[in-house]
């Protein structure tokens, strides 16, 4: 995923480009993995809590997204 952004006369090359949704999902994923690992005692509880955290992130992401869309009409 290479992209080229132009700021005035200067051209900046990025190795990678993410949109807001991709960034949010990536952030939710890494946070859920670490939160699941460090907060629970058994592997099953860690997996469940990680999935729960990821689900909460997704609900918040889509919920706030739709809320903002409704606000803007």
């Amino acid at each position: 995923m290479r992209t080229k952004l132009t700021h005035g006369k200067k051209t900046k090359r990025f190795l990678m480009s993410l949109d807001h949704f991709e960034m949010s999902v990536l952030f939710a994923l890494v946070c859920s993995v670490v939160l699941g690992l460090v907060t629970k005692r058994t592997d099953e509880a860690r997996l469940r809590y990680g999935l729960y955290c990821f689900g909460c992130f997704m609900v918040a992401l889509f919920g706030i997204g739709w809320f903002m869309r409704l606000l803007h009409g």
């Binding site: 990678m16 807001h20 460090v38 005692r41």
Partner: protein, 142 residues
């Protein structure tokens, strides 16, 4: 006399596995290494990969590193210092990036903005990992 063995056994089970300073310092320097030191290889490996990927994507997005100090109001300085602590918490990857001359300009755009947040997030996740390693070492959890 009969209570002495029980008391010494109690002390032995609550004693830390290793030096707390060593576990936290190694965990800071290399994400997940504190867990590896304590024999939690799986957890250490997952933490290492997760935190390193977060940091690497932040670098690939050309996220600028925070600098402590500088001019500005209290809120700006608070953000700069907080961001710097978050960056520094990544440990060796951050130090290597600085040493290798990674210093992208703070330009406008969503990619560098996301990048700087991911680098700080990697540091904050590493702080969670260090606290977890400390608790394992002090036998507060398995």
């Amino acid at each position: 006399m009969k209570e002495m063995p029980a008391a010494s056994a109690n002390v032995a089970t609550s004693a830390p596995l290793r030096s707390s300073f060593l576990v936290v310092a190694v965990g800071w320097l290399i994400p997940g290494a504190g867990h590896l030191l304590l024999g939690r290889r799986g957890r250490g490996a997952i933490l290492f990969v997760t935190i390193l990927i977060t940091f690497a994507i932040g670098i690939m997005l050309h996220g600028p590193l925070f600098q402590p100090g500088g001019a500005g109001d209290v809120l700006s300085r608070l953000i700069q210092y907080g961001g710097f602590i978050g960056d520094l918490a990544v440990g060796l990857p951050y130090l290597l990036a600085r040493w290798l001359g990674y210093f992208p300009p703070d330009v406008a755009g969503h990619n560098p903005d996301y990048g700087s947040k991911l680098i700080v997030a990697a540091g904050l996740l590493n702080i969670l990992a260090m606290v977890d390693a400390y608790e394992i070492n002090s036998r507060q959890k398995d």
